[in-house]
Symmetry: C2
Subunit: 741 residues, 2 copies
């Protein structure tokens, strides 16, 4: 992949592993009490006995993901273990007395134990996160599953079931509210089908590609960088491989992100990497374009692609959007929709998929003034920034107020900084763990040549730090590209403080003669001449005068122009406005990735019963807001049940009725598993009261209140929207103590 | 197009033109007063002077779209005009005296005037609907526009701008609430990319096609039925064409829907139709598959398509959904998402597009019990039904209570009837004019062979009656097809009243021998044997015994099986449950079409000023809910403006600030144009009051009230959701009389 052209296709960067020390306030194992308590208890740091498998997992995790601080504490312990390992091998090789060997083994074991205990003590919670348990829950309760499973499934395609679908819809609705509604953005909804010339102009046809290698015998394809990474990791675990080769491999991994096809071919050849499946030889890396091709209409000659991003739909509508905004800058347009990328061999579940929902904003702004009116509102907000400098210096990420970061030029401008702060707010709102979130600045070789600055919101998951949001200042590249391709001016007018006289120099094509010499190309030449700046025309004029010939360059093609083909026109003009091509700040959200990270961050296990797993969603995004549970199957309760359902529907609050025969406690456990935040119980008191009453249980605190049904809908709606907190409800309504749960 | 296979691709049926007389309560021209009034006045029936162009439009409209009742009144008047036309031609041909001719002309003119006046008096409102004016408004305020316009545009692809995007999002949200939330459906979100075998099984690869003809010289493509229709319409308007040929053409048009390729070829040859563009000859009709093809992954051998409907995603997930529903029938799954159809040469704006949003429900039900528990709730609801009988008898549509229609078997079952009633409710909720809505039953030759019954919700627009929703009972076709293709049982278990002993007869393949004889095909044969019913196995056994050979038929391929290849196993089994393949009732909504119809039905012109056009949306779907207008640019008003904006954001109510310098009245007119239902004005009283107050204007009645800002959000949210009516607000809050507007 041509990394420096495309900011959005970068792989997980497993080898940039430092993050801020302040940020490492994780719990070893999050303990969630299953006993009913009135108030949430502070989460305890437990020191449970871990199984060997878990200890190994924690150890592996720390080898990859430890902070520099933790790494500093573990390194000497690892060295001391290695010392005795080497000693024992040495003793055995020399045929030393058994007693000496045994003594050394005892010491080795003690040292190993010290290392393990230190690892457990230092490990963040997610080190012992059990992805299989989460995946089991997600599959069992149909959050999502591989698409077309009954046909064998398709890698990189996922279907969302009722739970996942609702979670996603809630996240999108919040995104729409947080950005489009609150910031007054112009939302558009453009087509996925995109004609080739549009994506040619944007650069995707030529450069949106990954390098792949093929099995020379059966033609099987592998993404080259992934193959190298996996092959080297296999080497590292191979005891027969020399330390020297391992060192070399480690070195390759650290630089892999910046590799081009030649670098990768060199590595594959040097290490003699083969197909991991057949062991056959591999071809040289071949560029594979990641767009899905298709054709529009029946003739077969209208080539098109499925859009790889929603952004281009906004750029091609720029003129209309500017008009809609009464011609004024700045303004932001946004789009929620599908993107498609034909990944070579996708793995990693929802992290790398071929069809995905994305939310993109294009904020158009005067290139000379990227200040943001509301910046003061968020200037004090602290973000964990992992700047390019820190990455190059090997320093950890730092928590910095965004106002400070813009002031000291770490972040390029206020608009970019504002969107980073709003991004942080959004991720917090939906329930991402702030201690597993950082903003990583792109290194200069990762950025497109035209980009000014770029910060990815990365979220820590069991797959490592995953890029979930890109926040980029893309300058005026896209608008200029579409202008070049269509000759439709994509500019805004900026009023000058006072009118200015300017000297205009234009090169006008003599179309009659041009047509004779260049036939169909004449129009293209005329357009190129029209698009020249005054400076370029002056240079052309000079060359025509001196050499009687000017070689016009259009995308690398040369067109020799003689003086008779061109009239140079010069005149003075008073201008009141200046035409500017706006810069664009682009926040781009991968909803599936954020959703997956959210699922990991929301996953909990009950204390003492690791099989009892559940999801602790924020009410805002919870797929179902309420469970509705009759205390018994008695028909007496039916009218109150109906009243509750009607009241909830009136406020558009989703609910799940569980009228099965289990105890209320068991039924709560089932609803906790899918993250239902509020449990509404209809009991015999409910039908005695006029109007009917119900009890409401908050899943977080497990405390309960009683209230009248006609007040229920508004309360739940307010709790979900964050207009009220549970503590407000507790203050307002009588507490309810269940006889049993 | 193979009409009888695919219910969803049918063209507008312009030639079924009767509709219910009761339904024809349209206004001649809807007059909306532009003077400010406290209460809505009853709409007047005006008799304005129409321009010649408008008169012609009304006349043309009535020729195509009149009800039988109107037609009965117009036919004698038309005949009387024709009589004098013929007479005058006759007189002239005979060289009759000028005085006789002139007399006849006076009489002709009088007869023509009578016809015209009667037409105007009888014409429904939409007969004079001016589509160009609506399109101008929609384009100017960026509701939607052709995609990639700066690249020349692509037919059949549309981008929604901020207004259209919001309107669509609001319609989808209401759909989700009305169906998924209120009916407790299981929502899924499946991929658009679909592997070929899935669509092979569903029948789309073989049969989802339209017939096209090509220009024999330049290869240009035309949809055959559209070409015939347009060519005949041209003939009809050609004075040189004989009455006999016109009669023939009319006859073809009436039968065109049922034509196959041979019929169309015969017509094209007989009428000598040519390319309408070049006049060149045309090829025979060729089937063109309407799915967009693509490939998944880099190898090029994984063929896939963009889904032509969302339904298949639900069918392939049936097993998981049934599990999610604890194995119980009935249940409904729903999906909102994109569909793609590679139309041959789409026209008609949003009515026929290549990429569109659809909402589909698959309601799975026991084939032997299609009753619906909540049916009684809607049984009295009246719908305009245009049954197959009525269509064949040339009788008009009738308004019938849905309970009655199910009882007398006009509508096949309660479940289908329930969804038709709910469909009607949804269309009313979003603002479709009930007098321009009917449910048309498919004729038996329009339905797929497996379908039991199908009713399209058709909406009358300036394009004629447009199919916007299909409500079909598809029996168990889809689930069975996917079962045949995958051998994964897609069945539900139905508990038997008491256990039953059954004799099972199974044909087991001798895989060792089968493998030798049939190699790779052996697996396929084994699967086919497993899928046989006991009856089929018995037949096979008999044939093996008598002929020592059985020719197994798999999709037309014959496999000769000898007795040694098969073991017949017989045993008795006690069964407690019966396996059933559910029937599916499928309501399928085309959101773009409904939205276009809604735009036409919401379009209004101000009395006396036809240039002042506006959209009268229901608050529920209005793209923007409120305008916020400061009465002056005075800085004093700023704090109240901020308070209003914050309050509206808290309730997620979208707003548009108009702080330009026009009068309040002018600014209201601008916001009326894009259908903003509530106007909030901040005046000097606003900032005198504590807390701040504002006035709220209802665009429908133009009446105003004053209330405190902290009550504003809830009021607007309640009005939008329909929890309160404007009259409730008027009763609760003091009326505000503006000094001027």
């Amino acid at each position: 992949m041509l990394k420096n052209c495309w900011i959005k296709t970068s792989a997980a960067r497993l080898f940039i592993r430092s993050f801020s020390a302040e940020n490492n306030q994780f719990f070893k194992v999050e303990v969630v009490s299953s006993a009913r308590k009135a108030l949430p208890t502070p989460r305890k740091v437990a020191a449970p006995r871990f199984e060997k498998k878990t200890r190994q997992k924690i150890s592996d995790y720390l080898k990859q993901m430890a902070t520099p601080e933790i790494e500093a504490q573990l390194a000497p312990l690892r060295a001391s273990v290695k010392e005795y390992g080497d000693l024992i091998r040495d003793l055995k090789a020399k045929g030393a007395p058994k007693i000496d060997v045994d003594k050394a083994v005892v010491e080795l074991k003690a040292r190993k134990r010290l290392l393990e205990e230190t690892e457990i003590a230092l490990a963040p919670k997610e080190a012992s996160f059990d992805r299989l348990k989460l995946e089991d829950l997600l599959k069992r309760r149909f959050f999502y599953d591989q698409s077309f499973a009954i046909y064998g499934g398709v890698t990189g395609l996922y279907d969302f079931g009722p739970m996942g679908c609702s979670l996603k819809a809630n996240m999108l609705q919040e995104w729409r509210k947080h950005f489009i509604l609150e910031e007054g953005m112009l939302e558009v909804d453009c087509t996925s089908l995109t004609p080739e010339p549009v994506l040619k102009a944007s650069g995707h046809v030529d450069r949106f590609a990954d390098w792949m290698v093929k099995d020379t015998k059966n033609g099987e394809c592998f993404r080259a960088d992934h193959l190298i990474k996996n092959s080297i990791e296999k080497l590292m675990n191979d005891k027969k491989v020399s330390a020297e080769v391992k060192k070399d491999g480690e070195d390759v991994l650290a630089r892999l992100e910046g590799f081009d096809d030649k670098d990768m071919h060199e590595v594959i050849t040097r290490f003699k990497f083969k197909s991991p499946i057949t062991g056959n030889d591999l071809t040289e890396p071949i560029a594979f374009n990641l767009m899905f091709p298709t054709q529009i209409g029946p003739t077969g000659d209208f080539k098109a692609f499925l859009r790889p991003e929603t952004a281009q739909g906004i750029f091609v509508n720029f003129k209309r959007l500017l008009e809609f905004n009464q011609g004024k800058l700045p303004f932001a347009a946004a789009q929620i929709g599908l993107g498609f990328r034909n990944e070579i061999s996708p793995r990693q579940g929802l992290i790398r998929v071929r069809e995905f929902t994305m939310c993109e904003i294009e904020h158009f702004v005067d290139p000379e003034d990227k200040s943001f009116p509301k910046f003061a509102k968020i200037a004090d907000q602290k973000l964990v920034l992992f700047s390019a400098c820190n990455q190059l210096d090997g320093a950890p990420a730092q928590e910095v107020a965004i106002g400070e970061a813009v002031k000291n030029k770490t972040v390029a401008n206020e608009t970019l900084g504002y969107y980073m702060a709003r991004c942080h707010q959004f991720l917090m709102k939906v329930g991402i763990d702030g201690r597993r979130l950082r903003f990583r600045q792109h290194l200069s070789n990762e950025m497109a040549h035209y980009a000014q600055d770029c910060w990815d919101a990365e979220i820590l998951t069991s797959y490592g730090w995953i890029e979930c949001v890109g926040n980029a200042d893309r300058a005026c590249y896209d608008l200029q590209q579409h202008y070049k391709a269509t000759n439709v001016k994509l500019v805004a007018e900026k009023k000058l403080p006072q009118p200015v006289d300017v000297n205009v120099v234009e090169a006008q094509a003599n179309m009659a003669l041009l047509g004779k010499s260049f036939k169909k190309e004449a129009k293209k030449i005329q357009t190129a001449l029209q698009q020249m700046t005054s400076e370029q025309v002056s240079a052309l004029e000079e060359e025509l005068l001196s050499k009687k010939l000017y070689n016009l360059d259009i995308n690398g093609e040369k067109y020799p122009l003689t003086p008779d083909l061109i009239n140079i026109k010069k005149y003075e003009k008073k201008i009141h406005v200046q035409e500017i091509t706006p810069s664009v700040i682009e926040p781009s959200y991968g909803i599936g990735r954020i959703m997956y990270a959210l699922l990991e961050h929301s996953f909990r296990q009950r204390e003492g019963d690791e099989q009892r797993t559940f999801l602790a969603f924020k009410p805002l995004v919870a797929p179902i807001k309420c469970s509705v549970l009759p205390i018994s199957a008695n028909d007496q309760l039916v009218p109150a049940m109906e009243a509750v359902k009607e009241e909830l529907s009136r406020y558009e609050m989703s609910y799940k009725v569980d009228d099965s025969s289990g105890t209320i406690g068991r039924r709560y456990a089932r609803t906790d598993e899918i993250g239902i935040p509020f449990g509404i119980t209809v009991d015999f008191q409910s039908v005695k009261d006029t109007p009917f009453t119900v009890t409401v249980r908050d899943a977080q605190s497990m405390s309960q209140i009683r209230l009248e049904v006609p007040e229920l809908g508004k309360l739940i709606a307010d709790l979900v929207a964050g207009r009220q907190q549970w503590s407000d409800a507790e203050a307002k309504y009588p507490k309810f103590e269940a006889a049993q749960e």
